[in-house]
């Protein structure tokens, strides 16, 4: 600062060819510093910071409005890929494994009809057995049923005296 004061008298005088006055040089430094200050956010100025924040938020909101439009096709494509992937087994069954299903169905039908036939044969056998047994179980000749033994006789080792 002292240098600034001392040479103020002839500060405007150029120093010869290709040289510049001290005052001009100082002014250039001021200009460059001010230029630098333009790009910096001033930490003291709350007003400027608030203004910058508001503008940034507003612009971000506007950009976000268009963001989904860009993301949506990608999301739809991903969803379609997922659906195709999940439905692949069904498609494979419907196309590639068709004869196997037919064979399985045929086998199932054969087993089922076999079981039904066996069931009817068994029921026929039961009917035949019933036909044999029925004469002996008729009311005219009732089957002799053993007389019930009193419990104490059945369990006693010796006859009571």
């Amino acid at each position: 600062m002292s240098v600034w004061e001392n040479d103020e008298s002839d500060a405007n005088a150029p120093r010869g060819r290709g040289e510049f006055s001290m005052r001009a040089q100082r002014m250039l430094v001021r200009v460059l510093l001010a230029l630098r200050g333009e790009a910096k956010r001033s930490p003291d100025s709350d007003r400027d910071n608030r203004y910058d924040s508001l503008r940034a938020e507003a612009l971000a909101d506007r950009i976000m409005l268009e963001f989904p439009r860009r993301v949506l096709p990608l999301g739809l494509a991903a969803l379609a890929a997922l659906v195709i992937f999940c439905s692949l087994p069904l498609v494979r069954d419907a196309i590639g494994q068709g004869p196997v299903i037919v064979a399985n169905t045929t086998m199932t039908n054969a087993v089922e009809s076999g079981l039904r036939q066996r069931g009817s044969e068994m029921s026929d056998g039961i009917e035949a057995l019933k036909a044999i047994v029925v004469p002996f179980t008729s009311d005219d000749a009732p089957l002799e049923t053993p007389a019930p033994i009193p419990p104490f006789e059945a369990t006693a080792p010796f006859k009571s005296s």
Binding site: A34, L35, R36, A39, A58, D61
Partner: protein, 193 residues
């Protein structure tokens, strides 16, 4: 400005549609980008519109972002191209919906700075100094002095050798000094009153 790691994390979140991450990215870079564009075109409204359009384009195509590069480099390149396109076609490129939200002119950061007399004088001097620069010099000066990019990064971005960038910077400073000298430099008391 974000550090590279935070920037990468924020970009990944933004790629997944995280609204807060998008807002963080915009908040971090809108002021530098607007300042850069403003000093390239000289119109704050146009700079604001093009900055918004740059953000929209960059964030919509975030899935194509190559993490080896800096986000700001990509953003500034898009912004610069949009500005060049605007000047070539001379028609507004920003969607009117996108610029619907804008505070009145008295609320802009530039207005806040320029409201002060000293700010006005410095701002005028910046314009005088930058007007003296030709196309690549102006951009290099802005990237180096305003955005704080190192020479190496500028040389990669502009695809020119580092020596050429340094040479442009040197010549640009001399041109600016000449312009300041010719404009009649105000005294320090005038500047800092």
């Amino acid at each position: 400005m974000m550090d590279p790691k935070t920037e990468r994390d924020t970009i990944r979140r933004a790629q997944q549609g995280d609204r807060d991450a998008i807002a963080e990215l915009i908040k971090s870079y809108q002021r530098p980008l607007e300042a850069f564009l403003f000093r390239l075109c000289g119109k704050s409204d146009l700079a604001e519109d093009i900055a918004q359009e740059s953000f929209v384009r960059v964030i919509k195509s975030l899935d194509r972002f190559d993490e080896r590069f800096r986000f700001s480099t990509w953003l500034f390149t898009i912004g610069k191209r949009l500005l060049v396109n605007y000047h070539q076609k001379m028609r507004p490129i920003a969607n009117s919906e996108m610029v619907q939200y804008r505070a009145d002119s008295t609320n802009t950061p530039y207005a806040a700075v320029e409201g002060v007399e000293r700010g006005e004088r410095i701002s005028n001097m910046i314009s005088i100094a930058l007007d003296a620069l030709v196309s690549p010099q102006r951009e290099i000066v802005l990237l180096f002095h305003q955005q704080g990019w190192p020479v190496e990064r500028i040389s990669k971005e502009l695809k020119m050798p580092e020596g050429t960038v340094k040479s442009h910077l040197f010549r640009a400073r001399r041109r600016m000094l000449t312009a300041i000298e010719l404009s009649g430099v105000p005294t320090p008391s005038e500047v800092f009153q």
